[in-house]
């Protein structure tokens, strides 16, 4: 059995004796007999590190690691600079708790302050929090943040990733908020319908940019519709795209959220990822979660602390703006190290490469009979095509060659795939996939 208890049996007995006890069992006298376990836990015996390692490796070996991925849909494989993992694996960062004791936590606090600055820069917004769980919970928190005494209806575009919509729905169910979907027309948020749905109860409009189908929404038009209203404009965005695409702030958004996973975090079967949230100074005190601020110490030196805590659960209890306590601090640091390593040029390059490869991929796919772009709009690095056979047949053919093809969209009669490309996909990979697809037919 493996153990991390350092004290020997001898030491344990000595300690028991000092307390005035003879056995470990006596330590648990306060637990009523009726609830004590009569037998050992019905789980396997412990193992040595070597055995565990070999068992876990076997389990990991049952997963397939694709050489080539053309699938995104909320999780993106980008290149992760070597420095990122080295830095974030430092024991101090890994094993520290939430930085309650500022004097010995300046490292974590400063890294969060730097992260907040980078998120503000990416999104163009004025204030960022220290992170929330992921892109979906960030969107849900933003919707809740927009609520006002007389405004309780959230309008969410149906072109937002369904997982995000479902998460928002769960978050507000049972509360006095309601969610209404804005229908989609030609893959984009239907602006006429949006206008018709706005009323005095509307608290926010949430869109995703680029949207679920990879298309660029007319963020300006939505910005003008919402300008001079009290309705909060929430935009969920892909952080890498912001290296080249118009920022939420430039669209006039009040709250920017998104999934930070593309910023140096692995695919990891869906987590841990990173939810980022940024807003205007005006809404700063409604932002949920930890926020780090700059101040001075007793000697007048620059220092960082957790601040605006009057919003938070440990102070406000049932009146807090959110219940969030632990967030994704190490993931936020990962994003910060990633952005520091990439720099402005690196992010621009990653964004431009991803977009260029996606457009090349789209062009090449459309050369195949039966493959067409489903929507005409501008896109970033994801797009939807029809396929000329059942999606399973297509995807299996690709899988055999170590390629994870596009994501089969639900409700498309198994004839549509949502494709994605990033800087990691080479021209050679794309060309050889086209060859494989040419050999598949329905």
């Amino acid at each position: 059995m493996g153990t991390y208890v350092p004290n020997t049996k001898d030491e344990q007995l000595r300690m028991l004796k000092e307390i005035g006890l003879d056995s470990m069992d006596q330590l648990f006298e306060a637990i009523p007999k009726e609830v004590k376990l009569g037998s050992p836990l019905d789980i396997p015996k412990g193992m040595s590190e070597m055995e565990v390692s070999s068992k876990m490796k076997k389990i990991a070996g049952k997963n397939k690691v694709y050489e080539t991925i053309f699938r995104g849909c909320g999780a993106y494989r980008h290149y992760i600079p070597a420095i990122v993992k080295q830095v974030t694996s430092k024991e101090e960062f890994m094993t520290a708790y939430t930085p309650y004791q500022a004097e010995i936590s300046q490292g974590i606090l400063q890294s969060i302050f730097e992260y907040q600055t980078m998120i503000c820069e990416l999104t163009g917004m004025q204030v960022s929090n220290a992170s929330v769980y992921d892109g979906a919970s960030a969107a849900a928190e933003a919707v809740i943040m927009s609520k006002e005494r007389k405004r309780k209806k959230a309008l969410v575009s149906a072109s937002v990733n369904p997982m995000i919509i479902e998460t928002i729905t769960t978050y507000i169910s049972g509360t006095d908020m309601e969610l209404e979907l804005i229908p989609v027309k030609d893959g984009l948020t239907d602006l006429e319908s949006l206008k018709n749905k706005l009323d005095v109860n509307t608290s926010c409009v949430l869109i995703q940019q680029p949207n679920y189908y990879g298309l660029l929404e007319d963020g300006d038009a939505i910005g003008s519709i919402l300008a001079d209203t009290d309705i909060k404009y929430i935009m969920s965005c892909n952080p890498i795209s912001l290296g080249v695409l118009k920022t939420p702030a430039e669209y006039g958004a009040d709250i920017a959220v998104g999934e930070g996973q593309p910023l140096g975090l692995g695919l990891s079967f869906g987590g841990p990822y990173l939810g980022f949230m940024a807003t205007t100074e005006k809404l700063m005190r409604r932002l949920p979660g930890r926020i780090v601020g700059e101040t001075k110490d007793s000697q007048g030196r620059r220092a960082y602390v957790l601040t605006l805590q009057a919003r938070e659960q440990h102070i406000r209890r049932e009146k807090a703006s959110s219940n969030i306590c632990s967030n994704q601090a190490l993931c936020a640091m990962t994003a910060a190290v990633y952005l520091a390593a990439m720099g402005r040029e690196g992010i621009r390059q990653a964004a431009t490469l991803s977009m260029s490869k996606a457009h090349y991929l789209a062009e090449r796919l459309c050369e195949i009979d039966g493959y067409d772009l489903v929507y005409e709009g501008e896109f970033f690095n994801e797009f939807v095509t029809t396929v000329n056979a059942d999606v399973d047949v297509v995807l299996k053919a690709l899988s055999k060659h170590g390629i994870l093809g596009g994501y089969p969209l639900e409700g498309s009669d198994r004839r549509q795939l949502l494709w994605c490309a990033t800087e990691l996909n080479t021209k050679e990979e794309i060309d050889s996939m086209i060859q494989i697809l040419n050999g598949v037919s329905g």
Partner: protein, 478 residues
Amino acid sequence: MKLIFEKGNKNRGLDLMPECDVPIRQVATGYERKKELNLPHLSETEISRHYTKLAKRTFGVNNGFYPLGSCTMKYNPKINNEMAGLPGFSDVHPLQPIDTVQGCLEVYRLAEKYLTKITGMDAIDFQPAAGAHGEFTGLKLIWAYHQDRNDSRRDKIIVPDSAHGTNPASASMAGFTVINVPSTEDGFVDVKALREVVGDDTAGFMLTNPNTIGLFEEHILEITSIIHEAGGLNYYDGANLNAIMGVARPGDMGFDVVHLNLHKTFSTPHGGGGPGSGPVGCKDILVKYLPSARIIDIDGRLSFEDKNEKSIGRVKDFYGNFLVVVRALTYMMTLGSEGLKDASENAVLNANYMLHKLKDTFEVPFGNGRCMHEFVISLEGLKKEKSVSALDFAKALLDRGMHPPTMYFPLIVHEALMVEPTETETKETLDEAIELFKDLYNKACNDPDAMHNSPTSTPIGRPDEVMAARNPILRYKF
């Protein structure tokens, strides 16, 4: 020290991206970013040194004793991280075909098996990303249960006054009204008061057990039956599960739903504030409301069942903080049945040992000299007589290289310091900490002013928190 933005040179940077091997596509007019993006311009050397410097200004479990009560800052075994780093786990897309992620499903399934046995629950859902997220999820299950029985007037969640702040915050976020119930003079839930507040509007009751004073609720069965008899459900906050693994189970105490903190009890690193993992466990009656689709095994092939139509719906994207679950599973497999019990026994032994050695010096308002895995001391006397507060004491500990205990919690103890040594500390470390505590106590009596000025040896002195909140500076201005 300098911020990362105050270093470097604007023509500096790493060469990470290749030349574009396909025609370059520019953003269409009207969609381009206008505002210049300010990010650091550094060489790799500078980045490496910047973060090394930040690491030196950070205190982790690897740096020293961390008896932060309620947070279970045990050692984070390295093998767990190594396993989480296996490409077979870390480089798997969440939307891969089911036959290519059999290993990931096996991780979830195995972890569920272990945790159901440890807690006495029937199912575990790993979607919640942290403890508070688990609370929210668990409370939504309770909400769904009552709705489903057309018993929707049940809108009250009862919470003891000693509860973590997340409990009432989660209840209110889930749409409930919070009713506080007081503690007795002995630090237990006031059963009489509880009887008075339950009724046909009671949706449920949230409890940490051992409670936040570090005591096992002696009337636990009576408490949970009071709630059940009133038609409510019992929620177990797993923050203190480290005291009772292999000894007692929430499922046998009358709890219907629990959340666990894998980043506390199951040794996964806390990362300076996350990522954690807050899986929710529940009894059969609540399984159909869980956020995730259940994993089933058909002739050795694992797959997701269709999600129950009564599910509360997902609380995050994909399946949860998977790599955190990989670490926790590695830990549970390593320790196994006897090892987990051994961990709890030693956690309780270490806490009692420290308490025993400190109780004559410090005021310990509850427990009569005994505790479970943590205990709370009060510096109310010192504060009154010498004006040395719990904060002063904590700050003085910083100068001696120790992470202080949790301060000012639970709220029912004045000038509280909550000490949780955990099982992974040696007797030598405990002895040193005991001496240190006593030494500082004497210092507080003899030279209180010095305590007010501490810390002096840390990278910064006490920060001005009021100034930070009054004039918020929340980002660097370029």
